[in-house]
Amino acid sequence: MSGGVVTGGWNFVIAAYTVTFSVLFIYGVSIVTRLREERSREKEEANPQ
């Protein structure tokens, strides 16, 4: 901070964007995986071998 103005700070910007994209990506992949597992289980139960 210099004279009431924040100087620098790119590291914080990069951290915020990295956290945002990581959380959205990980959550998205996790629910798609869970949905696929649940669908394949439903199919297996509908057509037991």
Binding site: V6, T7, G9, V13, A15, A16, V23, L35, E45
Partner: protein, 291 residues
């Protein structure tokens, strides 16, 4: 429900949100149809949100993956363009400098977290009046996505707070009420895990969602009601035109991703409930006796 009205609403939202914003930035005001900037922003947000929610309710019970893939694709596209513009094209803010670029992800996350919880509240109310399990699935999806966005909001806020306030966290009214909101909705997800009977689970979690939702307006108005370190809400009149485009692109991007996530999560909840309610398979011994 058909998807056509959703597409029309989204097109109106995109027109007022992006086309008019870009035209005004370049000094062309004819496309704004003589509307003030506040009305344009309200139209963009209102039509965008209404279109996305219409699309959600029209497609979330479908077996196909195409609807959520369309929404997720649109979301990634908007978020990619918005983040590129916010990071590399938009100028730094006068006082907060480069750190202000965090606003382009923090503010849209806040809007959509509150929107997801509002959606959960609406689904809870509808379920209590019209007990159809699809509303319970939608509520579960909206709560979980709202919790993820609220958690993300707190992380982004802490990263922004350190260089501007000098601390990662402060028990300021806005931050405290947001933390209460996150844990209240997390508690509802925990409640749903503990209750095995689908009917009781749906009713109890609907009531709990309605009670927890009381905190949402408190979060929104906390910066006006109490002295807060957190700044008050901005509007198109107080934000430079150069900041509009990345903010709106990311707001639409996170909105579309939120809708895609809720669709997936609602389908998952429906599949799990079907399995819970399915009659148990006969034991091998019983099959033998029958033969």
């Amino acid at each position: 429900m058909k998807t056509g009205p959703a597409a029309i609403l989204l097109a109106i939202g995109a027109y007022f949100g992006f086309v008019v914003a870009v035209a005004q930035f370049h000094g062309v005001s004819a496309l704004a149809l003589g509307l003030p900037s506040g009305a344009i922003a309200t139209l963009a947000a209102g039509c965008g949100v209404a279109g996305a929610i219409w699309f959600l309710f029209a497609n979330d019970q479908a077996d196909s993956s195409a609807p959520w893939q369309v929404m997720a694709g649109l979301g990634v596209l908007c978020l990619a363009f918005g983040s590129y513009y916010g990071l590399f094209v938009a100028p730094p803010e006068q006082y907060m400098g480069e750190v202000q670029r965090i606003m382009y992800v923090h503010v849209p996350t806040a809007w959509n977290a509150l929107l997801a919880m509002t959606l959960a509240f609406a689904c809870a109310v509808i379920f209590l009046f019209k007990p159809d399990y699809k509303w319970d699935s939608r509520m579960e999806g909206a709560i979980e996505v709202g919790v993820v966005l609220a958690f993300l909001l707190c992380c982004q806020g802490a990263i922004w707070a350190k260089p501007t306030w000098g601390v990662w966290w402060d028990w300021d009214p806005r931050l405290t009420t947001t933390a209460v909101l996150l844990f209240a909705f997390l508690g509802i997800l925990a409640l749903r895990r503990f209750v095995e009977d689908p009917a009781r689970r749906a009713i109890w979690s609907s009531v709990a969602t309605i009670i927890a939702y009381v905190d949402v307006p408190i979060v929104y108005f906390s910066v006006r009601w109490w002295n807060s370190l957190h700044q008050q809400q901005s509007n198109p009149g107080t934000v430079s035109k150069q900041f509009w485009l990345p903010l709106r692109l990311n707001a639409f991007g996170i909105l579309f991703l939120m809708v895609a996530f809720i669709m997936i999560r609602a389908q998952l909840a429906t599949l799990r409930r079907k399995q819970e309610m399915a009659p148990p398979l006969p034991e091998v011994a019983e099959l033998g006796e029958a033969v």
